[in-house]
């Protein structure tokens, strides 16, 4: 797997071969010089009786190690990152500046409420604008990310049905949905029933209605959906599911494509999570946290989780307990991702209502530009126009010996993070490209040129080029099969390696 050694050190300028931190440790090395502890140990039988196996390193070693690893990383600050469904757009530095203000960054969630009035006002103001933008009467701020938001919404649906003495069994989920949708429904104890997608990439309304019945608790539909298309039958779906006494959960992961233009509340939904980290731009992926507030209809609002912010005169207070007992509980120890709230509110306020409408407009325009510029070499999965992402199937690669995965690997050599591949599952060999609104036309044209060149190369019969890619990454193509079949999940010292290194 290691690349060929063409320098004495094995490094190539900025590309430095970095061993694991455990392989760099030298017994006795230390970054700090602390006095030997004196006095009696008070750990009793919990006292450590052997080494714990952490590597011994000096401070400069550690700094270099993590800096070098970060040089091998690819992020939105490095280049174009068209990972469909993930909305990898630029994170404005203004957001960061505000989130790092000492009065915000240094808060503790257990401070007396009288000392954090400003923080509660930020949560409350953000909540207000989320309700305005979605046209919904209530919002639960604490969910930690999109899937957590789904859990919040479906738990609210379950609580509402149980409170009405009408617990139900099934939840209908579109077959193009994010995998978290059926997982959420199953985690809440429901049987999941898939609703097929039409040839045009939409929820099949007739098939949907056929599956409805008095035991259906609700449905989960993503809009815009994972095929990058706007679901045109939302109102009919809402009417049908409400007609049998069920609830409508909308997966709002792709709200970035409609923000400022469509209010989901007008479409008849009962609950929807908003990925603040996507639509309102906070750093995510590879360790950045998410935040997934859930807007709720009047019917579900009483069941919203604790805690939430209320006004008492001029002051803000936190409701930590409900006397009427309708809240379904608590999703997090505290109030949600405060750092993300600050960034999301900064993003909203710096863009304004016209700016937010332009965000969704430009995201859709960029995706359609990509779709149009690639449509003659790749096959769009569905007739355009699309929303915020362009989706292709692999039929134009048929008989070339080159797969979607190969194209993705070759894109790494071209200096790009690849698009999302093999998702949504309803499209064969799917390539899901989400350019986002923050890429310039120059940046899109450069990517289009790479993509066209690669597809033309594949069609010209040069499959070997692809099977060998990536050539220029820190590591060549990984053996995913062995990694999955015989995973090595932890580092072992040289002496114990026999068993792991099969």
């Amino acid at each position: 797997m290691n690349r060929e050694r063409i320098t004495i050190s094995g490094d190539r300028a900025l590309a430095i071969e970095e061993p694991l931190i455990f392989e760099q440790g030298r017994p006795g090395c230390s970054g700090v010089d602390l006095p030997e502890p004196s006095g009696q140990a008070r750990l009793g039988r919990f006292e450590r009786n052997g080494p714990i196996g952490l590597p011994d390193l000096s401070e400069p070693q550690i700094v270099r190690h993590y800096t070098r690893l970060s040089q091998q990383n690819y992020g939105i600050d490095t280049g174009f990152f068209p990972l469909g469904s993930c909305t990898m757009k630029h994170n404005p530095r203004l957001n960061e500046k505000l989130a790092r203000l000492p009065g915000i960054a240094d808060l503790h969630p257990l401070q007396p409420v009288s000392t954090v009035q400003g923080a509660l006002e930020i949560i409350d103001t953000l909540a207000h604008w989320l309700k305005v933008l979605t046209g919904m009467p209530a919002v639960a701020m604490s969910p930690a990310a999109g899937a957590h938001g789904e859990l919040c919404g479906v738990m609210a649906i379950r609580a509402a049905l149980e409170a009405a003495g009408d617990p139900r069994k099934r939840i209908l989920v579109a077959d193009s949905a994010h995998g978290t949708n059926p997982a959420t429904a199953a985690a809440c104890g429901y049987t999941v029933e898939a609703v097929p997608t039409t040839k045009e990439g939409h929820v099949d309304l007739d098939e949907f209605k056929r599956r409805l019945g008095p035991d259906v608790a609700g449905t989960m539909i993503t809009n815009p959906n994972t095929c990058g298309l706007f679901e045109r039958d939302m109102i009919a779906i809402a009417e049908a599911v409400h007609g049998i006494g069920g609830y409508f959960y909308c997966d709002g992961a792709n709200f970035n494509a409609i923000v400022g233009r469509v209010r989901p509340g007008d479409l008849g939904i009962d609950a929807m999570h908003i990925n603040l980290h996507k639509t309102f731009s906070t750093p995510h992926g590879g360790g950045g946290p998410g935040s997934g507030p859930v807007v709720l209809s009047a019917a579900l609002a009483p069941f919203a989780p604790l805690p939430y912010v209320v006004h008492r005169g001029k002051a803000f207070e936190l409701v930590e307990q409900r006397d009427d007992g309708q809240a379904f509980g608590r999703l997090k120890a505290f109030h949600g991702q405060m750092g993300m709230f600050v960034r999301a509110l900064a993003y909203m306020m710096s863009h304004g209502s016209d700016g937010l409408a332009q965000v969704s407009g430009d995201a859709v325009l960029n995706a359609n530009y990509l779709l149009a510029c690639l449509a003659d070499v790749l096959t769009p999965a569905f007739p355009g126009p699309c929303m915020h992402e362009a989706l292709f199937n692999d039929s134009s690669l048929k008989d070339t010996g080159v797969t979607t995965l190969d194209i993705a690997k070759a894109l790494i050599d071209e200096g790009y993070h690849p698009m999302t591949v093999y998702f949504p599952l309803v499209v064969h060999g799917a390539m899901l490209i989400e350019p986002t609104e923050t890429e310039s036309k120059d940046s899109l044209d450069r990517f289009i040129a790479s993509m066209r060149g690669l597809v033309e190369r594949a069609k010209a019969g040069d499959a070997a080029y692809f099977q060998d890619a990536p050539r220029h990454a820190p590591r060549r193509r990984l053996d995913e099969t062995t990694a999955a079949r015989h995973p090595i999940l932890r580092w072992r010292p040289e002496s114990a390696k026999g068993e792991a290194a099969e």
Partner: protein, 125 residues
């Protein structure tokens, strides 16, 4: 006498003496790519035609395997736990998933013959 039948979900079933051996087809294993894990039902479990019975996970995706007919699981291919690659190497032979005792042999009549399945696959891409 044995007779192999197929489903549009890419399972096959071969019945001998009231016991059906079930697996996934060659087309299915090719589409999945390298299989890395197979989750099988416990022997004794009742499976229902068209409902999920097992899970096959490849480097690309995790997919449900549906029971082509109803019945009770009498034996599972325990070898797949350690050697899931058998599904790729011999999907229609050593890579079988489960054996079930059919509760309603008439259900077989609704399944595809080998020729009909081959035509079905040809129409897919």
């Amino acid at each position: 006498m044995s007779d192999t039948k197929f489903t549009e979900e890419h399972e096959w079933i071969r019945v001998e003496g009231g016991i059906g051996t079930i697996g996934i087809t060659d087309y299915a294993q090719k589409q999945l790519g390298d299989v890395v894990y197979v989750e099988l039902p416990e022997p004794g479990r009742k499976v229902e035609k068209g409902k999920d019975m097992a899970v096959v996970e490849s480097v690309k995706a995790a997919s449900e395997v549906y029971a082509p007919v109803s019945g009770e699981v009498v034996e599972i291919n325990a070898k797949l736990k350690d050697e899931p690659a058998t599904v790729n190497a011999a999907p229609m032979a050593g890579g079988w998933f489960v054996k079930i005792r059919l509760s309603d042999p008439k259900e077989l009549e609704g399944l595809l013959s080998e020729t009909a399945y081959r035509d079905f696959v040809r129409g897919l891409h």
